[in-house]
Structures are given as C-alpha cells and as structure tokens.
Symmetry: C2
Subunit: 330 residues, 2 copies
C-alpha cells in the first residue's frame, strides 16, 4: 500500500475549494488540516465547506500555526493573487517544513516583478528543504508552459505568440465583475488605470515563456482595453447593454532588441462567441496549434491538483512549472 500524501488546505474560497475537490477524488491524497479565516467556515467539516457529499473528518480552523504544525507533505495554498501579500503566509508554511503548491498568480514566476523577494523565498525554501510552486491554468499552463513545451519540436524559435479567449459568461460572478462586465468604457478605463480590473499574471506568463526559452528580455509590457458589447448580453449575474463593457482584452509582450519575441493576447468577455487557446510558433518549423475545451475554473483546479505530486517529488526551492517533469492528470 502506498502511503497517502497528507495535505493541509490553506484558503477555502472558490478556487481553493475547487482544488480540494479534485484532490478529494484521488486515492493518493488525504486532508489532515484546513485553514480559513472566514467565520462562516471555521469549525465546519472540510467536506461541507468544499461541497463534498461526505464529511472528511477534518474541521476548518483559523488557528494557522496550530494547523501548520501537523504532519503533512503538502500545503495547497489559495488565498490571493499578489506575491508580496501572500509572502508572509508562504514563509510561515515553509518554516513548518511543508511543500507548497499555490494558486497565487504572481508566484507562478515571482522573479518577473519581485526578483529580490523571490530570491529570498527561494533561499528560505532551500534552507527548509521544501519545494514551492505557484501554478494554475493562467498563469501556469495555457499561455506559458504548454506553448513552451510545443517548441520541443522546433530547431529554432524566433517568436512565440499565444491567443487565449475565455468565455466568461459561464464563469463565477466574481470573475465577471473582475473583468468589468456591465461597466461604461470610461469607468473601465479608470478602474483599469487603478489596476482594479485586470487579469493578474500576464507579465508572469511572458517571463515564464522567456525562462523556458532561455531568452533574456529587455522589457515586458502589459496593455489593457475593454471589449465593448455590440448587442445586449445577458448572463446569470449581469445584463450588458450595447456599447457597455463585456470584458477585457489584455496583451503581454516580451521585447528583445526592439522586437516582440513573445506576444500573449488574452480576451475574457461575457460575449466571447467561442473559447479557445491558439499558439503560433515562428521558427524551424513554424507551428500552429488550436486547443478547445480548456475551462478556467475546472482547469485551474486540475493544474494545481495535478502539479501536487510533482511538487512533493521535486528538489527544494522556489520553482516554476518550467522546472517540473511533465504534469498530467493522475
């Protein structure tokens, strides 16, 4: 009998709960603790909180230190998107000797925006001999790991271009709100200027692609603009009239000697007609790939759960998806 991987859940919002549900289906994992500060969740059984049909026998606690002191090989961390905000949490986990897989978008490649803090966390992880990886569908897979993996079949690569279109009409209300659905274009631009509306992680994806390709970029640029409704759009949560905002279109660019080496385009809108992931590799040979079916919420939970095994096996340190062997659904 193989020993199960003992897991502590840290953060049971929608994404953390979704990751936990995937791990709950797998016989090789068991939950030994759960942290969340939400009073509505504290004291409840993990099974009830994450929406299983059975109780797990582990209660959610807000006593972080006490939970982290338990024996476990892995913490599934899902509390926020910004590296500097979650860094103290990660440090506390690392000091308890636990490996971490996290949904924190910026942690997918924290060197992109916070190289010194990333080096610090890397040193701390090595000192305590644990592995830390931030991942998810995007950043973490669809716009970085998968396109880089495709270049394996190329002798040379001049440019990597990715376009991802997300149909936000079927996503959570929180996500529809985050992309500005229903706003005026003016309000959108103001909110975007305050960085209240944006997908977090495009710079990290650009930097991950550069890391995977061994390219040293001169600059990473991000731009953002609203997607405007041409007809009335109705979702479960919003009604968007024509000329109002249905979502966001963002570009991330990696520049080297004045040239776009990496171009990532992300559209998330409630009126996207079709969702897809498209990759163009300019090189020897040129490649074109079109993938249909990747779903933001389902797939983020999948990538995190699928990466868990690799994180437990990997060498110590703050790693990226570029450092791990093939991640698969198992």
């Amino acid at each position: 009998m193989t020993k199960k991987i003992q897991v502590i859940l840290y953060g049971l919002g929608p994404i953390g709960a979704a990751c936990a549900r995937v791990l709950a289906m797998r016989p090789d994992y068991e939950f030994v603790g759960a942290v969340d500060l939400d009073p509505a969740k504290v004291g409840q059984d993990v099974g009830d909180v994450i929406g299983l049909s059975e109780k797990v026998g582990v209660k959610v606690s807000d006593k972080t230190a006490r939970v982290l002191a338990k024996d476990a090989q892995l913490v599934v961390h899902a509390t926020g998107s910004y590296f500097l905000q979650v860094k103290p949490q990660l440090e506390q986990i690392i000091k308890q000797g636990k490996n971490i897989v996290s949904t924190c978008e910026e942690l997918s490649n924290p060197w992109a925006q916070h190289p010194r803090a990333a080096d610090e966390l890397n040193a701390l992880a090595k000192k305590h001999r644990v592995t830390v990886v931030g991942t998810g569908i995007n950043p973490g897979y669809a716009m970085d790991t998968l396109p880089v993996a495709m270049t394996a079949v190329c002798q040379q690569v001049k440019r990597v271009r990715v376009k991802r279109v997300v149909d936000a009409s079927k996503r959570r209300m929180q996500l529809q709100k985050k992309i500005g659905a229903g706003m005026t274009a003016e309000a959108f631009r103001e909110a975007a200027a305050r960085q209240e509306i944006r997908h977090v992680g495009l710079s990290e994806s650009v930097a991950l692609v550069a890391r995977g390709m061994g390219w040293t970029l001169d600059q990473i640029q991000e731009t953002i603009e609203p997607v405007i409704a041409t007809k009335r759009v109705v979702t479960d949560y919003f009604t968007v009239e024509p000329n109002f905002v249905t979502g966001v279109r963002q570009w991330g660019r990696g520049l080297y000697e004045g040239e776009d080496k990496i171009i990532l385009e992300l559209e998330m809108a409630v009126d996207a007609e079709e969702a897809f992931d498209e990759v163009w590799i300019e090189g020897t040979p040129d490649l074109h790939s079109l993938i249909k079916g990747i779903h933001g919420d389902i797939s983020t939970a999948a990538v995190v759960a699928n990466t868990a095994r690799r994180v437990v096996q990997a060498k110590p340190g703050l790693l990226t998806m570029m450092d791990l062997p093939v991640v698969s659904a198992r």
Copy 2:
C-alpha cells in the same frame, strides 16, 4: 562564460547527422568526438560528414572505445531502432560514464517490450551515475509526451486518442521505402507480417502515455494496414499507380478491462493531403487539439537536440520523457 557541453556523436546516418547539425547551431555545445563505422565517413571531418559549411576540427573514427574514452558529458546516439540491438553500444557508453540521448525508437520506453533488459540498463546507468533517454518526434513527443502534457488541465481523464498524419511525399527515400510506397497490397501485407514494414515505436508510445497517466494496461495491441492510392502519385523517388500502396496506417491501442484507454493512429503516406497532429482527451473537461507544422525529420532532430540539456541535468538512470522537465527549443 558558461562551460560548453562536450558531445560525442555516435552514428552519423541521416538522423544522427540532422541531430548534430542542430547542436552545431547552438553555442552551448561542442563536438569532441564522432563514431561511425561507414568507411566513407571514417577519417573525414565531422563538419563535412554532417553537411556544415565549416570544418569542426574533429574527425570521424571507427575506433569506438578510443572515442568514448574522451572527456564528454553527452553521447548523441543514433544507430538503430531496436533496443536489444543497440543495448551493447549503450552499455559501452554508460561504462565510460557518459550521459546518452538516443534516437533508438524502442529506447523511448524499453519497458514496453523488454522490461528485464530495461531494468538491467537502468541499474547500469545508476551505477555509473549517468542518464539515458531515448527520444524523437515519434515515439518521444507528438503521440505521447505532448498529449500527456495536455491532460494537466483535466481533473479526470477517461481516454487519450491521438491521430498523426505524416505527408511522406516530402521525406527521405528511405522513409518512403520503409512505408511500402509503390508496393502491391499483397506484397505489403507479407512484408508487414515479417515486420519489414512498420513504424517502430507505437507500442512504446502507448506505454509512455500509460506511464504518464499512471495507468496499468492489460494489453497493448498494434495493427497495421496499407494506404491504397486512388490516383497516380509521383514523388521524387517513386511513382505509385492507382490501387498500389502509398503508405501505412497503424494503430496502437492500450487496453484496460476490455476498454480502449489509449488509441494512437498513425498514417504515413506519400499521398497524405495534409499533415497534422490531432489529440482528443475524453475527461473533465474534454479537450481537442490540432497542431500543424510538426515535421518528422526536422522535428526528430529538434527533440533530440532540445532534450540534450535536460539529459545532462537529470538524475541518473534510464529515464523516459515523462521524467524530464519541460523540453524547449533553446
């Protein structure tokens, strides 16, 4: 200045030479020796033999032991498709303490057909602290590593199905001959029954997918049939009249409890109208992927050259592509 990876070339036929040409373009590799038994190549400069515009300053030798005694981190091995035939060569290289990346098709997953011999080679590689990996576009990437990597975005996977169509009209004469172009259907079936006509590696790809997915298969089946010309087909080497053979269609199936869990279909024909790589993942979510542009010869050389770096870095043993971090063109 980073120290270059010193490489010995072992086997300078068309594929070995193509791999060498890719490594020759990269500043981080240098050739320190080359083995080939062909009298036409022995004594010639590697640059002349592999078709570079410049000499390399290293001569091809048939004194295998002498060449393998040189300092080098890696041997690029390209002498044959069958594991048991090349195993003595691999053992000799391993005993000289060199890592190996090989184009040997069966070596991509030698446990598929020769588990005991594979275990032996694995033990020898570990003893001498070197890494051995067999790879190429197929087996090694298009029908195994890449489909498995796509499942990272799935919570559950029920079935992996891959279809690869190769336009053989633009490939080497040797390959066109190997797939039976120009034969009668009867002669094809006889030659196929003697295993003289077939793509080597489909069973290995099925087993690689199973390995990546953590599936223990009950059985792996291979079937083969001719592709028949419906009109006259002319290539640089063959003219195929209607009703004669233009190529091969092969299936590899991985069965578990009577169900096809893995279905790989490979068509290589001189009248293939379009070349593509298509993947269907049945699971949560379902995925469909279509890639255009992967080229057999160019991409095999690419995969081998791109894997070289990962082989030098990896832990000792006989590994598969499932064990290596993301391979990319760099």
